[in-house]
Amino acid sequence: MSTLYRLFLRSQLVRGRIIGLGSLGLLAVCLGFAVGASDGAGPRDGAELVSEYGLALFVPVSVLLFASAVLGDPNEDGTLVYLWLRPVARWKIVAAAVAAALSLCLPLVVLPMALAGALAGGGGLVVGAIASCTLATVSYVGIFTWLGLRVKRALVWGLAYILIWEGFVARAGSTPATLSVRASTRSVLGRISDAPRDFVEVGSIAAVLVPLLAAAVALWLTVRRLASQDVA
């Protein structure tokens, strides 16, 4: 499995992608610094930064770029056949792909947001940023790895999901919010940090379980898909 892991990791290390997402991470740090340096900023501002910039935009989009490509790119360009036609269990291929995506996404996403949290408010906000962004990353890696294998142009489908489901439908009421990674992880952030109570839309157990369950279901579907799909 380590061979596959190294292959996936290497294929994901695309300079443009790293620079682009590194810049977004840097922007998060700069915004954290601006919040921390501002006289009028309160606990809400730091939490809003982690929530609105991190959980709503930076984390899902960054994870989408990596996770949807990790199996999606070989599937589309036809190189998947060189992994598929080997005596390797399908779950091992998926596990290696997910491990590679997590290895890249976690430092690229969680570190800048933790730093932004530290600069913006420190204390509970740092822990909240680390916990919520890690949970969101794990969940989105599962969802977008499946999406990458399931559809062509997964980036566009993923963006539509982020904008329309997470950003629009899930904000319409408490029931869709329960099924939203964004609302769940925002609730985790709200409980851990000093954010105002209105951050908590989802109960504690559901806020942790729903994103993890979404990832688990998505990974199960990915293994099934990989085993049953036609390979070019």
């Binding site: 292959l7 290497r10 190189t79 056949v81 080997r86 005596p87 390979v231």
Partner: protein, 317 residues
């Protein structure tokens, strides 16, 4: 080693493979067919890359779909050019060796690369490789684990003539070792060099299988064409028609000067080559003609292929 029984594969309204049945044993077998005949789909079915809509495929006695352990014994050169662009040739083949669980992947990869005439020490990434080099590295990854069944989809495309000959020799060697080598191609003169066993596909159906000389013999509706060279073409043509051995004759050259030195060509159509061969000497003697040469014109693979994939001519009214 490969058994295909009543296999069809359709994609929506498009039937790619239609009710195909055949067995393939050890040795080299060529899969022939024009573009769009269903060759690649058939090869993908054999490797389990897609499932039959109907029928069964067995490779080494097992269903190639859903049993990854079988892939230890199968090697595939896929049609698409894409490879892991950022890897070197050695790393690409070593990756295959590692995934096949070989004890020393790098050594095996070096051996496979040498087999296809590539330098294992080449440090350039595959993105810089020419099409011919890519084809050979694809062959190397298919052979690195020494599979019993080797499936190659247009493996000679993009190769220069020297490399083609080298790979053709390699395939023949693999076949002689008792492996089942199935090669698809539409370049007929190359296929002819693999050996004489062919599977011919046309419009998704298996048009013929077996030795192509035998297939030609079975084509009763297509007269065989031969060329005779003789010093008295008119007389010989008349004698052949009179004997009933030829169904049609055509004179090629009418220049009397050349008739005396090199002889003239007579194109003869016959439905029974064996009977014709038995008759022609007597007919020549009877006509007082010297028979200088007798050459069959359409028992080569190209003619067989052309007859098989071309539409059947309408029955004369």
């Amino acid at each position: 080693m490969i058994q295909v029984a009543g296999v069809s594969r359709w994609f929506g309204d498009v039937v790619a493979v239609s009710d195909v049945s055949f067995d393939v044993g050890p040795g080299v077998t060529a899969l022939l067919g024009p573009n769009g005949a269903g060759k690649s789909t058939l090869l993908r079915l054999l490797c389990g890359l897609t499932t039959p809509s109907q029928g069964t495929v067995r490779v080494l006695g097992a269903n190639p779909r859903g049993d990854p352990s079988l892939y230890r014994r199968i090697g595939l050169v896929p049609q698409q050019e894409a490879v892991f662009e950022r890897l070197t040739g050695l790393a690409f083949v070593a990756l295959a060796a590692e995934l096949h669980g070989l004890p020393s992947p790098e050594t095996a990869a070096e051996g496979a690369l040498r087999l296809v005439d590539l330098d294992p020490g080449d440090r350039r990434p595959l993105s810089t490789y020419s099409k011919g080099m890519r084809q050979r590295v694809k062959v190397a990854q298919a052979l690195v684990h020494e599979p019993e069944v080797v499936v190659l989809d247009e493996p000679l495309e993009g190769l220069d003539p020297r490399q083609r000959l080298h790979l053709i020799d390699l395939f023949r060697t693999l076949g002689a070792e008792g492996r089942c080598v199935l090669v698809s191609s539409h370049v007929l003169d190359e296929v002819e060099r693999f050996g004489s066993r062919v599977l011919v596909m046309a419009q998704g159906r298996l048009a013929a299988e077996g030795d192509f000389h035998d297939i030609r013999e079975l084509m009763d509706d297509r007269p065989h064409r031969l060329r005779l060279r003789t010093d008295r073409p008119h007389a010989l043509a008349g004698a052949l028609v009179a004997s009933g051995a030829a169904t049609a004759v055509r004179l090629e050259v009418q220049d009397p000067q050349s008739d005396r030195t090199t002889g003239s060509g007579v194109l003869v159509d016959t439905v029974d080559v064996a009977a014709f061969r038995a008759t022609v000497a007597g007919a020549a003697q009877q006509a007082g003609a010297r028979l200088l040469e007798l050459t069959p014109l359409d028992d080569d693979l190209e003619s067989v292929f052309r007859y098989l994939v071309a539409p059947v001519p309408p029955e004369p009214r």
